[in-house]
């Protein structure tokens, strides 16, 4: 294993964009390995990522964004990586900002959350999306005790113990945002928000669209309300993804 840091890029139907993202990261010359988790894409996403020089693991069929991330965490644990960065495959996250996340981890953070709202111009978003962001930012700030402005950000850095927590505990398979942040805080992880620049989508479909926004709100509220009393994950320790021979 050449590096101690793994950059996880979950990708679904991003064949036209994931290659550029991987090459942009490689051009920075950061000390990290790049893993693209192809979430069962039918469009050659895995081949594009491999051609761009990334490590690739592929789900046999689509499992959802959170599961792709979780597979990445488990890969990192199994391969002995010390830290994990994560960014989206659609080009929204500016590769140069990875340095900010690494710096925050170096400074002792367990979770470095890249926020598009801390400085500069956040990308445009629909009214429902903005209202939801405000609501969940408020909830996340209240429950974590840290000022959170961008709870839905998938642009993150994680320390070894944060990665181990996520790999071995229950991890939401569809929209892992506010609930995961609150879970981190409850487990005693040090959360830090880091200002990052984000672009608008270069195409493709947002996870947050149409009726899914309503489901997102419902799911997040149920998860958050049950968080204090819920068992960590179904059938824990009997079928771990991270640890098996």
């Amino acid at each position: 294993m050449p590096h101690a840091t793994l950059l996880v890029i979950p990708a679904y139907r991003e064949a036209s964009r994931v290659g550029d993202v991987v090459r942009e990261v490689a051009a920075l010359g950061l000390p990290l390995d790049v893993l693209v988790v192809d979430d069962g894409s039918p469009d050659g996403t895995a081949d594009e990522a491999r051609a761009a020089g990334a490590l690739v693991v592929s789900h046999a069929f689509n499992l959802g964004y959170g599961s792709a991330l979780h597979t990445g965490y488990c890969y990192a644990v199994r391969s002995g990586y010390q830290r994990v960065l994560q960014m989206d495959a659609d080009g929204q996250h500016e590769a140069a900002m990875l340095q900010n996340l690494l710096a925050a981890l170096d400074a002792g953070a367990d979770v470095a959350l890249g926020s598009r709202y801390l400085d500069g111009q956040p990308p445009r978003a629909s009214l429902a999306r903005r209202a939801g962001t405000r609501l969940f930012a408020w909830i996340a700030s209240r429950w974590t005790g840290v000022r959170i402005t961008d709870p839905t950000s998938g642009f993150q850095g994680l320390s070894a113990r944060a990665v181990h927590l996520l790999a071995n505990d229950g991890f939401p398979e569809d929209y892992p945002d506010t609930d995961v942040l609150v879970g981190h805080a409850r487990a005693g992880m040090r959360l830090v928000e880091v200002p990052v620049r984000m672009h608008e989508r270069r195409g493709g479909l947002s996870m947050h669209r149409g009726a899914r926004i309503a489901y997102y709100g419902y799911k997040m509220l149920v998860t958050l309300l049950l968080l204090p009393v819920r068992r960590p994950t179904p059938l824990r320790n009997r079928d771990s993804v991270a640890r098996f021979p």
Binding site: A60, F61, N62, S67, Y215, P234, D239, V241
Partner: protein, 158 residues
């Protein structure tokens, strides 16, 4: 379902304890016949191994309960009085509804468990495929790419 429950609630509220009559013969025959048919069908499905025993017990319970209630009129009338329905036939509906609710809930629980398991299996498979490719490459053989799925994502997570 909802309608039956609402009717049940309404009849329970408006009933000034009327004299409960046993089922008319035709209703009794239809109820027994239907429940017996369901019971036979379920047993046949289990015999042909098209239905697992673990999923059959709620069906068998429902059918047996309906048969017992339809045959034993005293029990049915007593139970109707206890629940507070106006007509004993409502008790049959109510009993069947409760069992069907339990059945559907059982399916939802099993589905959630299966979802978790098939997700875990797919994740392990992805990691193992990667390791197999590395091992093959390390052994000096050309690592064959895993078979690619070609149809679009029908089973996308909501």
């Amino acid at each position: 379902m909802i309608g039956a429950l609402a009717a049940f609630a309404a009849s329970a509220a408006s009933a000034p304890a009327p004299e409960l009559q046993p089922l008319p013969g035709r209703q009794q025959a239809v109820a027994i016949g239907l429940a017996a048919a369901v019971l036979l069908l379920v047993i046949e499905l289990v015999r042909r191994r098209k239905l697992r025993e673990e999923y059959s017990w709620l069906w068998v319970s429902t059918a047996l309960l309906l048969i017992v209630l339809a045959i034993d009129q005293d029990l049915l009338v007593w139970l109707s009085g206890w629940i507070g329905v106006a007509s004993p036939v409502s008790t049959l509906f109510f009993g069947a509804s409760v069992f069907l609710l339990a059945l559907v809930l059982q399916f939802s629980v099993r589905l959630s468990r299966l979802t978790h398991r098939h997700r875990t299996l797919a994740q392990r498979l992805a990691l193992l495929e990667d390791e197999v490719q590395r091992l093959r490459a390390g052994a000096g053989q050309a690592g064959a790419a895993p078979p690619r799925r070609t149809e679009p994502g029908r089973d996308e997570v909501a």
